[in-house]
């Protein structure tokens, strides 16, 4: 999978590239408007991460040109402005999603994965992790053909884990992904939430993939 990161802040684009590379994505970086136009014109990407404020031009212009050229690259806008107008404009121009800075890399990664799933499998994608199978269209989860009954949030949590497999995910990132806002507290309730999910998966015959990393968060891994 090929990803283009259009972002003028070098430290940021490097972090994103490092994280996405760990999920077996092939990342390229464009640091300004002209490079971005050049790269998008001669290459096709599975997903483009697009910053709106760029040296040399507005990121939304790149989006416009992509659509004019009938390109089907998935586009995720990442903006520091968090402005509603930009968000609406971007989505109207055909962007697939919008994420405002600062964000968790795990969140960015999950969004990229979702865009690629929608683009290439028409939403009909099946995610496989060892003996765990997630049908993202029917939202069915099975472990060796045993169906697992999950609540909506448990399903979202599992999908988030599988999208960020083998990576450490902080409790805060999980809370934000599931509830979308600052719910405060010490995230102890996440522990209960994960305990429930883990129990359901274990009962269905799966090995314990959810590893708790002391003091930091959780990791979904078979090792």
């Amino acid at each position: 999978m090929k990803i283009l990161i259009i972002e003028d802040e070098k430290a940021l684009s490097e972090s994103i590239a490092t994280y996405l590379a760990s999920q077996e994505y092939n990342c390229e970086i464009a640091g300004d408007y002209t490079t971005a136009i050049h790269k998008t014109e001669y290459n096709d990407y599975d997903c483009i991460l697009l910053d709106i404020t760029l040296p040399g031009g507005n990121g939304l212009k790149i989006l416009e040109r992509l659509k004019e050229d009938k390109k089907t690259d998935g586009v995720l806008i990442i903006s520091a402005k968090n402005s509603l107008d930009d968000k609406i404009k971007g989505l109207n121009l055909g962007a697939d999603d919008y994420l405002s800075k600062p964000f968790h890399l795990s969140e960015l990664n999950a969004r990229v994965a979702a865009i690629i799933r929608r683009k290439y499998f028409d939403g009909n994608s099946v995610l496989q992790f060892d003996n765990l199978r997630i049908d993202t269209q029917s939202r069915m989860v099975t472990v060796e053909n045993n169906p697992v009954e999950l609540t909506k949030k448990e399903y979202e949590l599992l999908l988030y884990f599988v999208s960020n497999k083998r990576r450490l995910i902080s409790k805060e990132a999980i809370a934000e992904h599931l509830w979308g806002s600052d719910i405060g507290g010490n995230f102890d309730f996440i522990y209960t939430h994960i305990k429930n999910l883990r129990k359901k998966l274990l009962d269905a015959g799966e090995a314990d993939y959810i590893k708790s990393v002391y003091g930091m968060g959780y990791k979904f891994t078979s090792q």
Binding site: E9, A11, L12, S15, I16, T18, Y19, S22, A80, K81, N82, S83, L84, S100, K101, P102, F103, H104, L105, S106, T151, K152, K153, E154, R167, L168, S170, E172, A173, W179, G180, S181, D182, I183, G184, G185, N186, F189, T192, H193, Y214, G215, M216, G217
Partner: protein
């Protein structure tokens, strides 16, 4: 003290005194002029008598009319000088004394000296003077009356632009962005006042605008470095073989960065609401927004063992921005969850005019109204930013909803009244 009262207190006595002095002067001048006229008449009478004596060589007859008397008395004084005098003569018929102007002069008939005495009544003169006094008094009373009425009505209308300007200044609100609507006036003082008020409010508004823009720009600029910090921490935490101390440090850094980013986002949101950047309003189905929000936090509540009782009337529509409606509802509900105790309850009630969210929790230590202020938070709220309720308040202010927060019977009650804006 009103300006008018103060002005009248000085003005009316001065007018009365001036009128009294001038009427006194007027009295003396008129009196003097009339006496002078009488004296002239007496001189003419004298000349007639002298003329008569010269012609007839005899004294004319004495006469005694009411307004004119002539008498002759023999005298031995050859050097009597003619003189005017005023004397009172008692009138038996009318039983009152009358003033007469008298001219005495020496006249010689057939070698005998007489003092001729010609008297004319001053009655008319005095009548005129009296009349003048009455008229003057009437004028004083009339003037004071006119002044009073003028002050009441004319001055009230003259001061109208001033009061209008004052009212506009009282209504002036920095965040509402309304310009002063000052009345046109041709009075220089008020023109100057309006000019000054206009330029002053303009300057204040500009400064405020600059400050807000600064806040917004600063917040935006902070986002990118924050994103770098957060993402680097996230990458760092992926490293293998971290020591416990390193994990602890990474966790602390991560918490601090998150706090900073949430703080920044909340401040940015507040600035945006105050800047009226959420312009588009629509008929938002608040019942739907609330139900959706409760659903979103359903499992969270189950985990915290919180029981939700809801009494939500269907299809309550409120004219407002949809994003702000969602922020408003989720802020109140998150507050009710966050500050609840395990096994507590949340009661949510929505009807046509109001939304009330009640929740159990430990009693607030601060005055509940203070909690609407930025960064005011109860010491028990832990790492909460203290901005949630001020965001609620700012949104309510934008749409002229009234919001209250009370603690009653062990329940925290946040109530929003949509009147008069609800449909």
């Amino acid at each position: 003290m009103k300006l008018l009262v103060k002005y009248n207190r000085v003005n009316i006595p001065i007018i009365v005194i001036a009128l009294l002095i001038s009427s006194m002067g007027f009295y003396f001048i008129i009196h003097f002029a009339l006496i002078h006229q009488l004296d002239k008449d007496l001189r003419i009478e004298q000349m007639e008598i002298v003329h008569y004596v010269k012609e007839k060589n005899a004294l004319p007859e004495t006469s005694n009319y009411k307004d004119q008397k002539i008498e002759f008395n023999l005298t031995s004084n050859n050097f009597f000088k003619s003189k005017f005098s005023t004397e009172d003569v008692f009138n038996k018929r009318e039983n009152e004394s009358e003033s007469y102007r008298t001219l005495e002069f020496l006249i010689t008939v057939n070698g005998k000296n007489y003092i001729a005495e010609v008297k004319k009544s001053q009655q008319e003169t005095e009548d005129i003077v009296q009349l003048i006094l009455i008229i003057t008094l009437a004028v004083i009373i009339f003037l004071i009356l006119i002044l009073f009425i003028a002050n009441r009505f004319l001055l009230a209308s003259l001061w109208k632009p001033f009061h209008h300007t004052l009212e506009e200044l009282k209504q002036f609100n920095l965040s509402s962005k309304n310009k002063l609507n000052l009345p046109q006036t041709d009075i220089n003082e008020f023109k100057e006042l309006n000019e000054t008020a206009r330029s002053m409010t303009q300057k204040v508004s500009n400064d405020y605008e600059l400050l807000k823009n600064f806040t917004e720009n600063a917040s935006h600029e902070i986002q990118t470095p924050l994103a770098i910090i957060k993402n680097k921490i996230e990458l760092l935490s992926q490293s293998e073989n971290l020591t416990n101390m390193q994990i602890h440090s990474i966790q602390s850094m991560s918490d601090a960065a998150s706090r900073l980013s949430k703080l920044n986002q909340s401040l940015l949101l507040l600035t945006k609401i105050e800047n009226r950047q959420f312009k588009n309003t629509e008929n938002v189905n608040l019942s739907f927004v609330i139900n959706h929000c409760i659903e979103n936090f359903e499992e969270l509540n189950a985990l915290k063992n919180i029981c939700i009782e809801k009494n939500i009337t269907d299809d309550i529509f409120i004219e407002m921005n949809e994003s702000l409606a969602e922020i408003l509802v989720s802020n109140i509900i998150i507050n009710a969850i966050k500050h609840n105790c395990p096994g507590g309850t949340i009661k949510i009630e929505l009807d046509t005019g109001s939304l009330a969210v009640n929740n159990t929790g430990i009693p607030p230590q601060l005055n509940t109204t203070e909690l609407f202020e930025r960064f005011k938070k109860d010491s028990s709220s832990g790492d909460s930013l203290g901005l949630g309720l001020s965001i609620v308040k700012t949104i309510c202010d934008t749409y002229e909803f009234t919001v209250s927060y009370n603690y009653k019977d062990g329940m925290h009650v946040v109530k929003i009244n949509f009147l008069p804006n609800y449909k």
